[in-house]
């Protein structure tokens, strides 16, 4: 998969999680929604890893591992990425 396809997929899965997060805040007893949340969370982590192998770290402060060379300073910023 191409780098931008992976990013697109990551954004889609994350969008589902944003929606579920807000829904669960109001409906914390919905067990099916919690299951769906965890299913998508696993999927998000898989896609995050896949994207980072191609494009470098997505998150700061240790939430993404760095490759041997520090590339946080050289990979494009969100407003510079051509989608």
């Amino acid at each position: 998969m191409e780098c931008s396809d992976t990013l697109r997929k990551f954004q889609e899965v994350q969008f589902g999680l944003v929606e579920l997060q807000l829904y669960l805040d109001m409906n914390p007893a919905d067990q099916r929604a919690v299951q769906q949340y965890n299913y998508l969370s696993d999927e998000l982590h898989r896609l995050k890893h896949e994207y980072e192998m191609q494009a470098g770290p997505l998150m700061q402060y240790g939430f993404s591992r760095s490759p041997k060379r520090w590339v946080w300073t050289s990979t494009p910023w969100p407003w510079e990425i051509e989608y």
Partner: protein, 190 residues
């Protein structure tokens, strides 16, 4: 603590430079019903929000609004990126250029700087959640007016996404208001 993610909530593309649209869009960056106002309003109201669910909701919507702030910034950045000072002047951005060059700044569409008086925190959960519902409806209306002002399909796609998010936020805040009101009624009568 917040952790930055080096990506946007949605892909942002523009089909052509459009300085006038950038001048209008900036109101969702630093205007009264914009994303900065939204994020700061919700995150700040958490400390006096007595209801557990509403506290979580303010945190999670407030955080999403910070993401929307970067989506708007990216739209403006891409629409203005290649403009000359003369083009900016012709589009009504001469005053902005004189003060900021191409830097983004927290203003409304008329150039008025952001002010804390755009947001409220009454410390009363019903008053604050009612304020949040109204804020979401005003943001939704603003996105509609912005959609009406452009014919760029890429810009419209992003603005429609943001408009729909305001609809969802408003819905969730209505549910929170209902929960809080129920609690108040119980306390009053039993």
């Amino acid at each position: 603590m917040w952790i930055y993610e080096k990506k946007l909530e949605v892909p942002v593309r523009v089909s052509k430079p459009d300085l006038q649209m950038a001048k209008f869009l900036i109101t969702q960056y630093g205007g009264p019903d914009g994303e900065l106002s939204a994020a700061l309003r919700y995150l700040n109201q958490r400390y006096s929000m007595p209801n557990e669910r509403a506290k979580a909701l303010l945190t999670d919507i407030g955080t999403e609004e910070l993401g929307h702030l970067e989506v708007i910034a990216t739209l403006v950045y891409k629409l203005v990126k290649d403009a000359t000072p003369q083009e900016m002047r012709a589009a009504g951005l001469g005053a902005h250029y004189a003060d900021h060059d191409k830097a983004l700044f927290y203003t409304d569409a008329n150039g008025n700087p952001w002010t804390a008086s755009y947001i409220q925190a009454k410390g009363d959960p019903i008053a604050d959640l009612a304020e949040d519902i109204a804020a979401e409806e005003k943001a939704r209306a603003t996105y509609q007016w912005l959609i009406n002002l452009t014919d760029d399909p890429d810009v419209i796609q992003v603005l429609k996404f943001l408009r729909e998010r305001e609809v969802v936020h408003s819905q969730r805040f209505r549910e929170a208001l209902y929960i809080v009101e129920e609690h108040y009624n119980t306390r009053k009568y039993f």
